[in-house]
């Protein structure tokens, strides 16, 4: 049943106060990643025995550098790839990537904001947001229109409903994709790098929006990002991934206070530390042929 909590939604200019989150996470996990290992091929392991829990109704952030397996985790939750080891549990049900009927049933309960929007370029802004409604419901076209306009209003783009996708900026595309992801009021909203490439104003607006959407729809939100401060401002709990492993997790304040070298390096953006900036290579002088 579609709910309409965003009818009067407006985007505040300042971050909404963060709700208190009990620590540690309670047993009410909506998604559980249980000792999961995964690699796109046998020679390259992306995730190595990781365990994470996303609590119902909370915003959980997954932080980590590029290529550490954050987006892969979202794909595993959506059942895009089968896990090599371990299991992904979606609201008490183990996700089986080979069972298409189960996958489609579970996917109707989630919305994913893709890193680059993944909007349908042959459709207008309005039709993009209306797409899941038209495909999955028998709603009257007048009602579809109302819902689409409410969702677009929630992301501040009601006035852009008639534009073609080629006419919108990157930041607008991300917000349209968000409106599409929440069109069916999913129970789980996953955000893949929602702040990447946004200007500071759009970034603040996007962060507020994620928090507000989560609170108003009572959904569970998973935010994958490498923008530490934006994530810490809105999330209840965070995991830090590095080289396919969970190196730390906790509330933002706990992670901020952590003395663990990986955590300190990532949060402070230091080039030197346990995580190397340079890909393994012989010394530069040797490559340039000036070695003694």
């Amino acid at each position: 049943m579609a709910r309409f909590p965003l009818l009067t939604a407006t985007v505040p200019r300042h971050p909404a106060p963060r709700r208190e989150c009990p620590s540690p996470l309670s047993a009410d996990a909506f998604i559980e990643i249980d000792h999961v290992s995964f690699g796109y091929d046998a020679s390259r392991t992306i995730l190595n025995d990781v365990s994470l829990r996303f609590e119902r109704g909370k915003v959980t952030a997954i932080l980590g550098g590029s290529g550490c397996g954050k987006t892969t985790l979202l794909r595993l939750i959506g059942g895009v790839h089968p896990v090599s080891r371990g299991r992904v549990v979606f609201d008490g049900e183990t996700v089986d990537a080979a069972d298409q009927a189960q996958l489609y049933r579970l996917r109707r309960r989630l919305g994913l904001l893709f890193q680059f929007g993944a909007l349908f370029t042959d459709l207008s802004v309005f039709d993009n947001v209306a797409f899941p409604l038209r495909e999955h419901t028998d709603l009257d076209e007048a009602l579809v229109r109302d819902i689409v306009l409410m969702k677009l209003n929630a992301v501040g783009l009601r006035g852009a409903a008639g534009l073609r996708i080629a006419e919108v900026s990157g930041g607008m595309a991300r917000r349209i994709a968000l409106a599409r992801a929440i069109a069916l009021d999913p129970e789980l909203i996953m955000y893949d790098e929602p702040f990447a490439g946004l200007d500071p104003i759009s970034m603040g607006v996007a962060a507020n929006l994620i928090r507000k959407l989560n609170d108003s729809t009572e959904a569970t939100s998973v935010v994958v990002s490498h923008d530490v401060q934006e994530c810490f401002a809105i999330c209840d709990y965070a995991y830090l991934l590095s080289q396919g492993r969970v190196v730390a997790h906790g509330e933002p304040a706990q992670l901020n206070a952590s003395q663990q070298p990986e955590v300190r390096q990532f949060i402070r953006g230091e080039p030197d530390g346990p995580v190397r900036f340079h890909y393994p290579a012989p010394p530069l002088a040797e490559d340039l042929g000036i070695a003694p």
Partner: protein, 260 residues
Amino acid sequence: MTDALAGLGRFSLDALRALGHAAFFFVDLLRFSPAALRRFDLVVAQVHAIGNRSLLIIGASGLAVGFVLALQMYYALVTYGAAESLGLVVNLALVRELGPVVAALLFAGRAGTSLTAEIGLMKAGEQLAAMELMAIDPRARVLAPRFLGGIVAMPILALLFSTIGILGAYVVAVLLIGVDAGNFWSIMQAKVDVWRDLGNGIVKSAVFGLICTFVALYQGYECRATPEGVSQATTHTVVIASLGVLCMDFVLTALLFSTP
């Protein structure tokens, strides 16, 4: 020697695997086609889009082929005093053979490559993945309507090609050379059979439409999601679809026109 044998074995296995994969893809398209037919507006939109893409080139080529065919056939027939058969020869050549085959080759080059690029870019832009994660099967929503659209559009285009070709032949034969107009049309009416000639031509072009559209969609859906991958897939579409059309043309001609 052992390496050569191993290489041959590997090549054969890869080819068989690719063939099996394509066969499963084809079965999927057939499986999702009834559902696509139930959403007939999507199929009609694709017939319109695919047909429109090829309309101009089909029309221009049909006219040019009609001009040349009339001229060449006139030179050949007049030698034997059979110039009055010109209308029949042109008609049979176009309706039975040139219409379906040339239109299919043009269709593969125009609409086929366009379909491959469209699907390939949807894949590269994660649009197909987004659809999957919305619990919408892209094979049902995107591919099946295009598959049916191609099968329906192709015979229409072939008929247009033949019609414009015959009109072009009329212009050259009757208006420029001076062949009798009544003779040009009446021999067609008397000798061309609607079911045997026209009907079989339509069957041929529907099969060619199926081959071209299937190849185009398969190449787009299975291509690497990179600019190089999409460009390679569009080239493969033209080559494979054209060869498929030419091979199947021989088989279909042997089957459909086996009796004089």
